[in-house]
């Protein structure tokens, strides 16, 4: 295999990582029966806080920690109203996405003095795995959060199928009354997953603004949170499927970059992930229908 293809694979992983991290959070919420479409806003918020903290402290890892903490706080704005007060999670999430957009743009002007895009030599990005001694082709230029994301897929899959608490979480999502009847604290589980999803979105944001690039620009989440929502809906309760869905998206984005390099307009690259996601949705539905018709035959 030549260098061209290795670099393409690396590009796929880079594009996949933030979406996958956010989608893992979304999947947890889905398993527990919480519909979380605030991923986009949380991703953006995480990316912003990561850059602010990294810029202030000069440490990328402080940036990651700050992003995780701040996004957990932000996700409490979803879990509080929607789990404790039983407000419509979709409405709350739309409000939060708007809030994240406004808050990041506003604070950016207050902290950095201008809008648009911020990057500076003071801003510490995450180190490459190559610098940390892992000099393997595809992983060389990735941030350490990329293998963390892949590992989390396995951890989540094992947790959901092999542990007591994981199975209980699935019970909460599958049959609320049954879960309540055996004495599970349903709202506790739901608060928990929403906050953990916030932490994962914080990681996703930090990967986006300190791993993929080292800068913050307004609205830089650019629909990745929404793609993550769709990936979650495609995968049910199966983290393995989620990985495939996110890889598909990563491939579309990396392929879009290639197209742009080949002289196609930028708009084709922008649209590629959405078109591929739509195609995947339709194919998945057709496959499901065919399977169903076999079962009936």
């Amino acid at each position: 295999m030549n260098v061209f293809e290795w670099s393409f694979l690396a590009g796929v992983l880079t594009a996949t990582a933030p979406v996958l991290l956010a989608a893992l959070g979304g999947l947890l919420c889905q398993v527990a029966g919480v519909f979380n479409i605030a991923l986009e806003g949380q991703l953006l918020w995480g990316a912003f806080v990561a850059v602010v903290v990294s810029d202030l402290t000069g440490s990328a890892w402080a940036g990651v920690a700050g992003a995780v903490a701040a996004t957990v706080l932000f996700s409490a704005l979803l879990s509080g109203p929607s789990v404790a007060l039983r407000a419509d999670p979709i409405v709350v999430a739309v409000g939060l996405n708007l809030l994240a957009l406004g808050l990041t743009a506003f604070l950016m002007r207050q902290i950095f003095g201008s809008g648009g895009t911020y990057s500076s030599p003071d801003l510490a990005g995450l180190p490459d795995l190559g610098e940390l001694g892992l000099d393997v082709p595809v992983l060389r230029d990735q941030s350490p959060l990329v293998p963390v994301a892949l590992l989390l897929v396995v951890v989540l899959a094992l947790w959901l199928t092999r542990t007591r608490s994981g199975l209980r979480l699935r019970a909460v999502g599958q049959h609320l009354d049954a879960a309540r009847a055996v004495g599970l604290r349903v709202s506790g589980y739901r608060h928990g997953v929403t906050l953990v999803a916030g932490a994962l979105c914080g990681l996703a944001g930090a990967q986006l603004s300190l791993g993929n690039v080292t800068l913050f620009s307004e609205g830089m989440s650019a629909g990745r949170g929404w793609i993550a929502v769709v990936a979650v809906m495609l995968s049910g309760v199966y983290p393995g499927r989620l990985l495939l869905a996110c890889l598909l998206f990563g491939m579309a984005e990396a392929f879009g970059f290639r197209l742009q390099g080949a002289g196609l307009p930028q708009q084709a690259a922008d649209a590629a992930p959405y078109v591929i996601t739509l195609a995947a949705l339709v194919l998945a539905a057709v496959a499901r229908r065919r399977r169903r018709s076999y079962e009936h035959a």
Binding site: L85, V91, V94, F106, G223, W226, P265, L281
Partner: protein
């Protein structure tokens, strides 16, 4: 009138693509329409940058439209066109259709209880598709109204950057399935937005505060709505 009509048709066609995603695949409309919108925005952006761009300027905008295609202006300010009274008339028609026609009843019934509506003989998937197409047509019409009014050309990003769409979604969520309230919530949010821009010009208050306030209003109203329904119990 023809460009307005075609704008509405084009908007409706884009939205109707999202219908099977919602009715057959069970994607919530807010996700399916977003997935459809992104490529549509990219396509429009491509068209206005390359095939339809104003030659020799390098700006992503179309050449100005011919005088005959401009919407007739109202008053002397140059900002007001017949678009505003047209929207008022359409709002009235829409309120009538919602409250007093069979289609409006079917749409309401489908929204409130899909299975019950189906049981009652409503073809719910068709009603959902019609509602989505109608929504798209209204959106297409507002796009056409903006482009045919000043500055009489399509400028890339001029329709998406001000956040018209999410303001509209927010207004509808605030109104909470009470159509008569929609014009009020729209007015509230646009006053906030325009006022925010004014505050930025006059008092140096950043206009991004508007989005923050809008987001908070939506969350607060969502919480208040649950308190209102819970109190009787």
């Amino acid at each position: 009138m023809l460009p307005l009509f075609l704008g509405a048709v084009a908007g409706g066609l884009v939205a109707v693509v999202a219908a099977p995603l919602s009715t057959r695949l069970g994607l919530p409309a807010i996700v399916s329409t977003l997935l459809i919108s992104a490529p549509a925005v990219s396509l429009a952006s491509y068209l206005v940058r390359f095939p339809l761009a104003e030659p020799n300027t390098g700006i992503a905008q179309t050449p100005p439209l011919p005088e005959a295609a401009h919407l007739p202006a109202l008053g002397g300010s140059g900002y007001l066109t017949i678009g505003l009274p047209l929207i008022a008339v359409l709002t009235t028609l829409w309120l009538y259709a919602d409250g007093r026609t069979v289609l409006g009843y079917e749409i309401r019934a489908t929204g409130q209880n899909r299975e019950f509506a189906r049981y009652g003989g409503v073809r719910v998937d068709r009603v959902a598709a019609l509602a989505l197409a109608g929504g798209g047509a209204f959106a297409g019409l507002s796009g056409a109204l903006i482009v045919l009014g000043p500055p009489h050309r399509f400028v890339d990003g001029a329709l998406t950057a001000p956040g018209y769409t999410f303001t509209a979604v927010a207004a509808v969520l605030l109104a909470g399935a009470r159509p008569i309230v929609v014009p009020l919530t729209v007015a509230l949010l646009t006053f906030l937005q325009v006022g925010g821009q004014g505050m930025e010009r006059e008092a140096g208050v950043p206009s991004q505060l508007t989005q923050i306030v809008q987001g908070l209003i939506i969350v607060i109203v969502a919480v208040l709505a649950t308190l209102r329904t819970r109190r009787p119990r």
